[in-house]
């Protein structure tokens, strides 16, 4: 009996991995093969760099170009890594609308022997890769042209890579949660992930310390895993900058990791529940092949 349970688990895991890898390959093809590699690279870079440039101009005109201030490094790095939030959340959630209304294949996905949540997360891999390029370009531009105080030799690489990997898992969970919601709603907003990421910008302490928020809004920021993820990334890259802001100064690195892992697990469970519930609702209400092109 126990042997058969293990075999079932193993088969389920294999299906999940196969679904994830196939979806990742499919997502990459969809994202990248519409043009030649050069134009694709330009496209992947211009958009996020322009987003960072908006903040740079805002900061520059008010502070008369004080780019060596810790606040600038705080804003710039937070914004650079926040690119991942929009990329991964959009990549995962947009797959629902893309497959349902553009390619009209969502119903076939659901009759195929695949693991749907793994498939959705796999579709976000392409956006994660293009997001990585954008993050690298944005940070490099900051170091080269804006005097961003970043010393690669002083970076705590193990801490950085661990935090980054945890963050990607956490963002995939958020994307899956959003995909579950998207299964139940019409195609109103083109990039629903971007819209949600834009809203979470406010609470995550990405571009300003949470102390700037009114007291009654701060608890939302402290309940968000993004807040701790960005703090860990800043501490690993520019520890002195992170120490200049009191938001989480009393929390140790280990505590930050523990909070991030805990919130990632909580959001992971929520994502599975919401996605399954969304799936159920979509099946019940006949929404899996809904087309809302108006």
């Amino acid at each position: 009996m126990q042997f058969s349970w293990w075999k079932e688990r193993e088969r389920s895991l294999r299906t999940s991995i196969r679904s994830f890898l196939t979806a990742a390959w499919l997502g990459w093809q969809i994202e990248s093969n519409w043009t030649d590699p050069f134009l694709f690279a330009v496209y992947s870079i211009i958009k996020p760099v322009a987003g960072a440039a908006i903040l740079v101009v805002m900061y520059g005109i008010i502070t008369q170009g004080a780019f060596d201030s810790p606040l600038f490094a705080y804003i710039y790095l937070g914004n650079a890594f926040y690119i991942y939030v929009g990329s991964v959340m959009t990549g995962v959630s947009w797959a629902v609308i893309d497959d349902r209304e553009h390619y009209k294949t969502l119903k076939y996905i659901y009759v195929a022997p695949i693991h749907a949540p793994s498939y959705m997360v796999g579709r976000g891999v392409a956006r994660f890769l293009t997001g990585t390029i954008a993050v690298l370009v944005t940070i490099t531009a900051g170091v080269l042209f804006l005097n961003l105080q970043l010393d690669l030799a002083a970076v705590n690489w193990p801490m950085f890579l661990t935090a980054l990997a945890l963050g990607v898992v956490m963002l995939a969970n958020l994307g899956l949660l959003l995909a579950g919601v998207t299964l139940m709603i019409a195609h109103h907003v083109w990039f629903i992930g971007d819209a949600v990421a834009g809203a979470l910008y406010l609470f995550s302490g990405a571009i300003f310390p949470l102390e700037v928020l009114p007291n009654w809004l701060r608890p939302i920021g402290f309940a968000m895993p993004l807040t701790y993820w960005l703090e860990l990334l800043r501490r690993s890259m520019v520890g002195h900058v992170a120490a200049s802001f009191p938001t989480l100064s009393k929390v140790t690195d280990g505590q930050l990791f523990a909070i991030l892992i805990g919130l990632t697990i909580i959001f992971g469970l929520m994502a599975i529940l919401v996605f399954r519930w969304g799936e159920h609702q979509a099946r019940e209400r006949g929404l899996l092949d809904m087309v809302t092109n108006y």
């Binding site: 519409w34 043009t35 496209y43 211009i46 958009k47 996020p48 322009a50 987003g51 440039a53 908006i54 903040l55 101009v57 805002m58 900061y59 520059g60 005109i61 008010i62 502070t63 606040l71 804003i75 553009h102 390619y103 709603i185 019409a186 109103h188 907003v189 083109w190 990039f191 629903i192 819209a195 949600v196 834009g198 809203a199 979470l200 910008y201 406010l202 990405a206 571009i207 300003f208 310390p209 700037v212 928020l213 087309v291 809302t292 092109n293 108006y294």
Partner: protein, 280 residues
């Protein structure tokens, strides 16, 4: 072959307006049937705009800049409407199989685009209105309108030039496939940057600001900020009368250009068989 692609359509004013209403109708009704768009299209952008306000607060900017962000955040709704609900909508219609029906029907593509724009105005205007009103109240923005008629006229002129530009873009999208989608996505942040959505246009320097003035929202928003905020004139790029003249010129150029480009691209798309082409 050439004769076959230049079929004259029996345009009339009545048919034009009937087409506008017919295309606007599903958008208005669709928005009524499922109201989840209000959360994603109005509430979430309000939060995103708030984030930029708090950046200014964090760096100790004068309160006028907060007003600039609120107004810029509201105007993003119109640019998004142009990009996604007009320009790339034609790509989406092609993928759905509707574009060929639009072309073979005896109506004007300008009317269809105008219908799309007006139909989407419900969400667009509501989003802009909510951001201005709620954003203004939340952040204590001090509006000081020197002339409501001048402000209204500037807004209308900006919209005419902007939607003329949108119609012109739409003609280009008739020829595009999947790249349409990506190009529309690409035209968000760079345009927010060049148009000064979150800061005064003149901060970009004279020549960059002058180049950006080809975007109606850039010059229109600069004029409106001068008319709405007490210290607006000191942060303006050019004087309001000059900006109004530029907007009039842009309106004429874009509307006439849209009329000719749409007709040309439609013929070209028919000749090259791209209207039903779907490269997925």
């Amino acid at each position: 072959m050439e004769r076959a692609t230049s079929i004259a359509k029996p345009y009339s004013t009545r048919l034009f307006f009937q087409t506008v209403i017919a295309r606007a109708y599903p958008r208005v009704i669709g928005a009524q049937r499922e109201k989840s768009w209000m959360f994603f299209d109005i509430f979430l952008p309000l939060l995103a705009v708030s984030a930029y306000v708090f950046v200014y607060r964090a760096i100790g900017a004068p309160e006028t800049y907060v007003g600039f962000v609120v107004m810029g955040g509201a105007m993003t709704a119109f640019w998004m409407n142009i990009l996604w609900s007009m320009s790339s909508q034609l790509f989406w219609e092609k993928e759905q199989g509707n574009l060929a029906l639009y072309i073979i029907a005896p109506n004007s593509m300008m009317a269809i685009l105008l219908g799309m724009a007006l139909g989407g105005m419900l969400a667009t205007t509501l989003r802009a209105f909510v951001i201005v009103i709620i954003g203004g109240m939340l952040f204590g923005v001090q509006f000081s309108v020197s002339s409501f008629s001048a402000l209204f006229g500037t807004f209308i002129l900006t919209m005419v030039a902007l939607y003329g530009m949108g119609m012109m873009f739409s003609s280009l999208f008739l020829l595009l496939n999947r790249e349409a989608w990506h190009l529309a996505s690409l035209a968000q942040e760079p345009i927010y940057l060049l148009s000064g959505f979150y800061f005064p246009l003149k901060s970009l320097g004279f020549w960059v600001a002058a180049g950006a003035s080809i975007i109606p929202l850039a010059i229109g928003m600069d004029a409106m900020r001068q008319l709405v905020f007490p210290s607006g004139p000191s942060l303006g790029f050019l004087s309001v009368p000059i900006e109004l003249v530029i907007l009039v010129i842009l309106s004429v150029v874009f509307l006439v250009g849209a009329r000719y480009l749409l007709a040309y691209m439609e013929r070209l798309a028919i000749r090259e068989g791209r209207l039903t082409d779907s490269r997925r």
